[in-house]
């Protein structure tokens, strides 16, 4: 008996939460074969599951390793659904975000978590990795026309790299085209204010809320 759309969406969501890569692939295929829209499958199935994962993380029921495995399941589902997306939904309205760990720092666990959370929050992510030189952030913002730039560091010795990037955005005349949010163990709202960042987030869950708030109504400007 064919499952209803609602059943399949719930199954997709549950498979993300339960980290079931194999099951999610089969469910996503069944969903597409039944003729349901891929966009709904992503938003009401996969993203819904990651929202629950995010809540569980916030409640300290899930931890970094759990989120990584849940995101693996989500990406497995996405691999099946995404090729069918462009036929039924224009996704050009997604906000773009560049993310990376500043130069001199290789601690990227938190950054990876924020990337996953933002991706599931609907952002199109450009991950530059760790130990990223200032110029590379600027180049990627220009190249992608990003709405948001996210930087993190765990070390006090590399915090100043964030200010360098913001100063370079100003020097290149694009500071007002992109919102900048920062995070990491030694970072605070006070530091964000001091260097002229638009926001600071203490954790990956808050980062999504902050990113959405910062980019509300911030369309892609021509550069």
């Amino acid at each position: 008996m064919n499952r209803s759309k609602e059943d399949l969406l719930q199954s997709l969501s549950r498979s993300v939460v339960e980290m079931e890569e194999k099951e999610i692939t089969e469910t996503a295929r069944e969903y597409i074969d039944a003729g349901y829209p891929a966009f709904d499958g992503i938003m009401d199935g996969l993203a819904d599951g990651m929202k629950k994962v995010s809540d569980l993380f916030d409640e300290e029921e899930y931890f970094v390793t759990d989120v990584l495995l849940c995101s693996d399941a989500m990406y497995a589902g996405l691999d099946v659904l995404k090729p069918h997306l462009e036929q039924d939904k224009d996704v050009s309205c997604r906000k773009k975000a560049v993310i990376g760990v500043v130069e001199g720092d290789t601690h990227d666990i938190g950054k990876n978590l924020v990337r996953i959370m933002l991706e599931t929050g609907g952002f199109e992510m450009y991950d530059l990795g760790r130990d990223v030189p200032s110029d590379k952030f600027i180049d990627k913002v220009k190249e992608t026309g990003a709405d948001l730039l996210c930087m993190s560091t765990l070390m006090t010795t590399t915090m100043t790299g964030m200010k360098d990037v913001i100063d370079k955005l100003k020097a290149d005349g694009i500071r007002d085209k992109v919102k900048v949010m920062i995070g990491g163990s030694p970072i605070s709202q006070k530091y964000a204010d001091k260097i002229g960042a638009d926001g600071y987030s203490a954790n990956a869950v808050e980062a999504v809320q902050l990113a959405k708030k910062l980019t509300e109504g911030n369309g892609h400007g021509e550069r």
Binding site: F63, V64, T65, D105, T106, I109, N112, M155, T156, S185
Partner: protein
């Protein structure tokens, strides 16, 4: 290639049978506390110190004599009772084949790129060669500092931290969840190298070995995997460190590791009375040869004072089966 493995340690909980084992594991899971770390962020050496010694980076990091000068300058500047080596957390990974970028010195050496994309590849890591490279120079510097009559703390990183420089950490965390035997095998092989490293340091007269693995803390792994990491690696490793160490070597655990052992019921704290109030560092030095292991505070917390003159020693529980 790294060979050998640490002795196997059975799961204490399994002794009681599957159902009780699950209950026990769940009950201990909730008890691993986290230690808020603000000290491991310090890496590298300040430009001010390098300039005052007329040394250049990274050249100075490759010469034992220069390493000694830097370590003593840092000790004098911070007013600590001991020198601390190495100046970075990459040394072990670099000595196992990790690709390192020295940068401009502001942060010290960093991992340049990952050595492997698959955890299985890391089973083929080379053994540490203590007779060459930065590893040799750091050990020689330890020896020179000891010959001058000063104490030196050798900071040894655990497998999570080392692997973080060799492979995307995501792969490490996934393997811990999905392929625990592979993780146990690999961390065991790394453990063997660390035990060799500690022996080499003791040959140089080092009496204080600090052990930390902050990447594998409960805050990152969560209570369940943190407990698993203790079962699969930490307990065995610490036990073997204690078994092989010299009588006058003091093991200094990072409090995150101490809490993991306490929270899983593998260790307990016992009071060791010092002559009087003193800093944690001074207390540890005073306890050399008297106790085997401390770990109530981070050794980098140089202002922490034992006001009541009591140092907490960490004692592995005898009922933990190894």
């Amino acid at each position: 290639m790294i060979s050998g493995s640490m002795n196997s340690c059975g799961e204490t909980a399994a002794f009681f049978g599957p159902a009780v084992s699950v209950f026990l594991r769940r009950s201990i899971m909730d008890r691993i506390a986290d230690f808020e770390c603000t000290y491991d962020n310090a890496a590298g050496v300040s430009r001010e110190i390098m300039e005052s010694l007329d040394l250049t980076y990274p050249d100075a990091f490759f010469h034992a004599a220069d390493i000694v000068k830097i370590a003593e300058a840092v000790r004098k500047k911070e007013g600590t009772a001991f020198c601390e080596l190495p100046f970075d957390h990459v040394l072990e990974a670099e000595s196992m084949g990790g690709i390192v970028k020295y940068g401009d010195g502001m942060t010290g050496p960093l991992a340049k790129e990952y050595l492997a994309s698959d955890m299985k590849e890391l089973l083929e890591l080379p053994e540490i060669d203590f007779t060459r490279g930065r590893m040799k120079e750091v050990l020689s510097a330890c020896g020179e500092i000891r010959r001058r009559g000063e104490q030196v703390v050798l900071d040894v990183c655990g497998p999570f931290t080392i692997l973080n420089f060799l492979i995307d950490t995501t792969q490490v965390f996934k393997s811990l969840r999905k392929e625990p035997k592979l993780f146990a095998e690999l961390s065991g092989k790394i453990g063997v190298q660390l035990l060799r490293y500690i022996k080499e340091a003791e040959k140089q007269g080092v009496q204080m070995i600090s052990y930390a693995d902050s990447v594998g803390s409960v805050k990152i792994l969560g209570p369940k995997l943190a407990a698993q990491a203790v079962e699969d690696f930490t307990f065995c490793f610490v036990k073997q460190m204690l078994e092989q160490k010299r009588a006058d070597t003091l093991i200094l655990l990072c409090p995150k590791t101490t809490f993991a052992l306490l929270g899983t019921g593998k260790a307990a704290l016992e009071d060791y009375r010092l002559p009087g109030p003193m800093t944690y560092g001074e207390g540890c030095i005073a306890a050399i040869g008297k106790i085997d292991m401390a770990g109530q505070q981070c050794i980098k917390n140089i202002h922490y004072t034992l006001k009541d003159g009591v140092l907490k020693q960490v004692v592995l529980k005898s009922q933990s089966r190894g």
